[in-house]
Symmetry: C2
Subunit: 355 residues, 2 copies
C-alpha cells in the first residue's frame, strides 16, 4: 500500500449478472460510509456516469477509469483475456500492478479474474499456483467474532495440486483467515478420506508430512467430509476439482432446503400460528447456507488481494467484498505468506521422488 | 444362482457396531416373511445360538456356519484379512464362491469386505477395479417407484480411477440401479467441475468421450456438485476419494440438520400446537438424509453381489440389505456388466496415450 492515501480498491463494474448497476450502487454507498476508502470504478463511462448521477455519493472518494471492453460470464476466459487487452478486469489488475490501487474486486467471470491476476499482478515468491478460496457455512463458529463459516480452498483455480501446492494453500488460507476474521492462529486441515496421516492420495499424504513439520501453520491433521458442515477447523485445504464439487454441492443443498422451507403449505401454518420462533429457526438454516452475505472469494497467491464476488452479487454483497478486500490489503498478507512458504521444502526436493 | 434352491444369502453376523444380535434378529424375521429366501448365518455359534433361541424363526430357512474369527471395525483391513483366514467375512465370500450362497451381506469393516470379496469371489471379466456404491438423498425422485435417492460410486473402494475405470463404474452403477429400482434405462453422469465435455481432470474427459460412444449406458454427460442434492440423474460416477468426501459430507449435513430440527425449544412448540404436519415436514427432511433405511452399499465388480450395510445398522437395515442382495442376485447383473464392459476400448489402447 502507498503511504499517504486511503486504501484504494479497483472495482471492476462490468461482467456481473446484474451489469454495472449493483457495483456502482455499492461504491456510492461506501463513498459515504467509509472515509478511509477510495474506489476506482473500472468500466464503461457511458453506462457508469448516468448510474452515478442517480445516486448520492461522496465525489472525493470515487474515481472512474473508463474502458469499453469486458469479459462476460459465458465467454471462454482464456480466449476473452487474449482477445480483449482492455477488458475491465485486466485494467483493474493493471491499476494494482501500477501501484494506483491496493486491491481488486470483481463479480465477473471467475476464470478471467484468475487469468487477469496471473498476467498483471505479481505472484508471491514461492507460490506456484494461485488458489480460489470460499467460505462454507458451518455448525460451529470460528474466530473471535464467532463467524458461522469456515474457509475452503482451492475451489477451482486449478484442478490438481501437488503436496507442496496443498501446503502453500494451507499457508495462504491461514493468513487470509487471520486477516479477515482476526483469529490469531486459525486451525488448518487437509480434506481426506480418513483422519490418519497415511490416508488419502499421495499428494495429501506428502502435504500432511510437510505441514506436521511447519510451525507457521496451526495444523490440525486430516478432516473428512462430515467435518465440512460441522466446521471442525477454520480452514479446509483440498485441490480445486474436489473443492469445486464440494462448494457447488453446498450451494445445491442450500437451494433444496430453501425450497422445502419455503413450501407454501408449511408457511401457511407458520403464519397462522405466529410461530415466529420456529420460522426464524428455518431462516437461520437458510441464512447459514446463504454465503452471499459474506463478501466474496479471495484469489490467493498474489502480492495484492483480489476478491471475486459471486456473479449474482447485489450491492450489499459487493460492498462486503470491498470491505474484505481493504482488510486483506491492510494486513499485508503477501509478505507473511512469502515468509511461511520459504520454510517449505523446495519443489526440486519434491520433484525428486514424484512420479 | 443354483437352480432348485431358494436364493441364499451368506449373512456375516460379526463385526457390526451392535454385534451379532441385530443381524440374527433380521435373519429370524426374514425366515418368517420370505419363503423364497434362505439365510446362512456366518459367525460364532456360541453367541448366535442363544440369540436365536430367544427369537421366533422358521428353522428350515436358516442355517449356521460357525467361525470364531472376525474383523472388528477398528482393525486394519489388510492386516486382519491376512491374519485371520477364518474371518466371518472371508467365510461368507467363500460360501458364495463355492456355489452354496448367491450373495453376501455384511455390516462389518468395509475395507475387509472389499478385500475378502477380491480374494474369494470372482471378478467380472474386464472389470479392473471394484467400486463401492451408495445411495444419496435427492430432491427429485428416481425410477418407477419414485425412489428419493440416487446412486453414487465409487465412494471409497479405491482412491483413484482411470478413464476406463470410470466407464466401468458407469456400467456397473447402471446395471445395479436397473436391478434394484426397476428403472429400465437409468441416466448416468460423470461428476465434474462443469457440464462441458472438456471440463475436469484428464480421466474424466477420457471417460466422457468413451461413454458418449457407448450405447449400453444412458449417458447424460457431466454433472456438477449441485446436481447431487437435486438428483438430476439416477447414477453419479466419480473416483473413490471424491466419492468418499461427498458421501461423508452428506452424512454430516444430515446430522447437523437433525440437531437443528431436534432442538428442544423448537420441538416444544411443535408438540404444544400439535403441528404434526410441519413436524412431519421436518421429519421428511431428516428421513431423506437418513439412508440407513435404504439397505446397504453394494460392492460392485464381482460376479455375485456383496452388500455392505452400515456399521450402525439395526435389524431393519440389515433386513433391507438382504432383500436388496436377493434382488441383485436374481437380476444376474454380472453377465450384463461383462457384456457392456466388453464394448469399452481395451486398457491397452488407453495406455497408449496415457502419460
Amino acid at each position: 500500500m502507498s503511504p499517504g492515501r486511503p486504501t484504494t480498491i479497483a472495482l471492476d463494474c462490468m461482467g456481473g449478472d446484474h451489469g454495472p448497476s449493483e457495483a456502482v450502487a455499492a461504491a456510492a454507498q461506501l463513498s459515504i460510509e467509509r472515509p478511509d476508502f477510495h474506489l476506482i470504478l473500472v468500466g464503461d463511462a457511458v453506462v457508469i456516469g448516468p448510474l452515478l448521477d442517480e445516486l448520492e455519493y461522496e465525489p472525493g472518494r470515487l474515481s472512474l477509469r473508463h474502458t469499453d471492453e469486458w469479459v462476460s460470464m459465458d465467454e471462454s476466459p482464456a480466449k476473452a483475456i487474449a482477445a480483449k487487452p482492455n477488458a475491465s478486469v485486466l485494467v483493474a489488475c493493471q491499476l494494482v500492478s501500477d501501484g494506483r490501487a491496493d486491491a481488486v474486486v470483481t463479480s465477473g467471470n471467475t476464470g478471467a479474474a484468475i487469468l487477469a491476476a496471473a498476467r498483471k499482478m505479481g505472484r508471491i515468491p514461492g507460490v506456484r499456483r494461485a488458489a480460489l478460496a470460499a467460505v462454507t457455512p458451518t455448525e460451529k463458529t470460528h474466530g473471535p467474532n464467532d463467524d458461522p463459516f469456515a474457509l475452503l480452498l482451492d475451489v477451482g483455480a486449478t484442478l490438481s495440486a501437488s503436496g507442496r501446492d496443498l501446503v502453500t494453500f494451507a499457508i495462504m488460507g491461514a493468513a487470509y483467515a487471520q486477516a479477515i476474521s482476526g483469529n490469531p492462529s486459525p486451525t488448518v486441515a487437509l480434506l481426506s478420506n480418513g483422519t490418519e496421516a497415511h490416508k488419502g492420495p499421495r499428494e495429501v499424504v506428502e502435504a500432511h508430512e510437510m505441514l506436521a513439520n511447519l510451525s507457521e501453520v496451526n495444523f490440525a491433521g486430516n478432516v473428512e467430509g462430515l467435518d465440512i458442515p460441522r466446521g471442525s477447523v477454520d480452514v479446509v485445504v483440498t485441490n480445486g476439482f474436489l473443492g469445486n464439487v464440494v462448494l457447488k454441492m453446498l450451494e445445491g443443498i442450500g437451494e433444496v432446503i430453501s425450497e422445502l422451507a419455503n413450501d407454501a403449505y408449511a408457511r401457511k401454518f407458520l403464519w397462522r400460528f405466529g410461530l415466529t420462533m420456529l420460522s426464524s429457526g428455518l431462516r437461520q438454516i437458510q441464512q447459514a447456507l446463504d454465503w452471499e452475505q459474506y463478501g466474496g472469494a479471495p484469489i490467493l497467491g498474489f502480492v495484492q488481494p483480489i476478491i471475486k464476488a459471486h456473479g449474482r452479487s447485489k450491492a450489499r454483497a459487493i460492498g462486503n467484498a470491498c470491505k474484505v478486500a481493504v482488510k486483506a490489503a491492510r494486513a499485508d498478507m503477501g509478505r507473511e505468506i512469502e515468509r511461511a512458504v520459504s520454510r517449505v521444502p523446495a519443489p526440486e526436493e519434491e520433484g525428486a521422488h514424484a512420479t
